[in-house]
Assembly symmetry: C2
Homo-oligomer: 396 residues x 2
């Protein structure tokens, strides 16, 4: 008999992952090129050539006993230093190696910091729409997820509701910008106001409220938009990063946490996070990929590829009569469902081999998410299908 | 402020890991070759050449979008099939791909299965001495660790005490053979008796008691000793495996769980374990290493290297007057401390740059663990130091 807690988890298992498996099933029947799978944030741009080169160099030059051996639970010292240096150069911060913990992707990092911080019953605030896994991660440590309802005009966070929902039990606030699933980048103005509210509430309740910035999409911003670096706006900020999207390596599970000295009880938080990384079973971030990353800190994925997809899909869907805001970052479009029950819309789309994810998975029913990190041809060939779908529904 | 639960964890943080960091510190002062660091199970035998070859082949031949992309949460289908086929061939089992879940090492796998199974208050039985992390892993899911005291004659499990300590709350029993820290291999006779006791108790209490076999040291057995494959002796067995030791890749975090069809509620356990693998933040086992493993299933580490270390260190310590049983597997010696308080012994050893780990870390005070997965020269050069230590103590 499985754990009670897992029963609900299995029943409500990720719609995104279910769709991913469904896509694989349909691809076997119809051929991969005839399935328009917009379900998963699995980058279609290949990793930069430097990644392969770096891995081969490491294999040729490094002692395999060291290369594949355990590192410290927080990662190799020289890798942490290289990450800190790179951040300092880019964002004018002043992190040391000790502020960096290499993690098994951002998902690993978020679990580590939530295990580090949460007592049972502690509240974690998220802004809908949000990555549905935040609910699971919070639940892992018996935290309580508190949702701020979506502003469906701009998809910037609703700060008035946020202010009201912070309580003495609020331990953390998770933001994700560029955002999954909307592609929206939280503006500097938004961040300043959000930080100011948190400062006031910390004082009011005499508590520490940690801002957790989950930023796997940081490098994916279009039209020259700036993505503010949050540690500069609010002292009590922890950053979770992943190379999944920026280097197209989601399967390799490599990322890091930044826990600045300015964070409340910083020494304790760092020490506990390192222990959490160990006892949750990560032990250390994969060592070959740690060392690869240190060699590829200036590498970039091909943003122009996603940008073309963004333009083509956004314009194509608008022409079909669908409604959505134009994303400034990440590789998702968040489209208004023509029906109130967007799951019905997703089911209808499936008839055209169009795989899209219901907004309910992101705490925002009535919308659907399309991940456009796919081959350009998929976008182009999907548009006639979206047109047929629009005609069936009558939105066109 | 960090979580209450983590405060204790940080305070009692792994003595092994602390020693590992101490070793790095001393190496900087005295030079690596003058520090006799027996603290960590970090293999000193290089990964087989086939590992490097396989990784380079994969990088040269596979589409990087697939190679580094997400796999299913349970792993690549073809990798799981290859692992199942290999186990079936070696052990006469009949696992299918669906019975395998690729994991972030054995530590990841154990966390996954414990999260899958444990309700708060459920009991997990371990046999002292045991890998201290079992306590943390059990605590992660609010389970209660129940220790069976050590049989210091043979270090086989004390089955009479085991029988008495199984209750209606016993959800799992963890065994680790070849054993860390003793190097003992549980005999087939022991396993049969242990299985029989568990069968009876399952019936008596009307419960499912899962046997979790943690076997990263399976391939490290000397003198032709057989390591029984536990699923053949007890239906309700889950196996956790790691390539850390068998392919010398502890830093890469690659292993698997086997959840056979014969396990109670097998379908639910598999489904929940896949969800647990996702929501704990592992997401999937590192993809490049998954594919590497599938190409290296018949590769072996150089046992003869460890065997020579074993003989040299065992004989050397005996000559110094220290007391220990000769291990049949793994790469650890478990030595009786000349003092009741073995931590005092470890401190004294440190004066000679000998780094060894107190048995208290394994639920067995009065003993110390030496990991002999080190360079042969370290063993040879450490023996005069052990002799000096023995002379200081007066055991020689």
């Amino acid at each position: 008999m499985i754990a009670e807690k897992m029963k609900g988890m299995v029943a409500n298992s990720s719609a995104i992952r279910a769709m991913f498996e469904e896509g694989n099933r349909l691809a076997k029947i119809y051929g991969r090129e005839n399935v328009y799978d917009f379900s998963l944030g699995n980058p279609n741009v290949a990793a930069p050539a430097a990644v392969k080169k770096a891995i081969i160099e490491l294999l040729e030059e490094e002692d395999p006993v060291v290369l594949h051996g355990y590192s410290s639970n927080s990662g190799y010292e020289e890798v942490k230093q290289a990450v800190a240096d790179s951040l300092n150069e880019r964002f004018g911060t002043s992190f040391a190696a000790k502020n960096i913990i290499m993690t098994v992707g951002a998902a690993g990092g978020l679990n580590v910091i939530l295990k580090t911080l949460l007592n049972p019953g502690d509240e974690v605030i998220v802004f809908a729409p949000y990555f549905g896994e935040y609910r699971s991660y919070t639940n892992n440590y018996d935290g309580v997820l508190v949702e701020i309802s979506p502003n469906t005009e701009t998809f910037q966070p609703k700060l008035d509701e946020f202010e009201q929902k912070i309580t003495a039990k609020t331990k953390a606030v998770i933001v994700n910008t560029p955002n999954n699933p909307t592609g929206v980048v939280y503006s500097e103005d938004t961040i300043k106001k959000l930080a100011a509210i948190m400062e006031v509430k910390q004082k009011e309740f005499g508590t520490d409220i940690y801002l957790i910035s989950d930023e796997p999409y940081r490098e994916l911003a279009y039209d020259g938009v700036e993505v503010p670096y949050l540690t500069k706006y609010y002292a009590n900020t922890v950053v979770g990063y992943s190379y999944s999207k920026s280097l197209s390596l989601p399967g390799e599970r490599i990322g890091y946490l930044v826990i600045p000295d300015e964070v409340a009880d910083s020494k304790d938080v760092i020490a506990a996070a390192i222990v959490a990384n160990r006892i949750l079973g990560f032990v250390n971030a994969p060592t070959l990929q740690q060392k690869m990353v240190a060699k590829c800190l200036n590498e970039k994925t091909d943003i122009s590829y996603y940008d073309r997809n963004r333009e083509t899909l956004y314009n194509g869907l608008k022409e079909c009569g669908f409604n959505c805001i134009k994303p400034e970052g990440a590789f998702y479009l968040f489209v208004k469902s023509p029906f109130e029950n967007e799951k019905q819309f997703c089911e209808m789309a499936k008839k055209y081999n169009l795989l899209i994810v219901p907004g309910s998975s992101f705490g925002c029913p009535g919308y659907v998410r399309l991940a456009y990190c796919v081959a350009y041809e998929i976008i182009v060939n999907s548009l006639p299908k979206f047109k047929e779908l629009a005609e069936e529904i009558g939105v066109i």
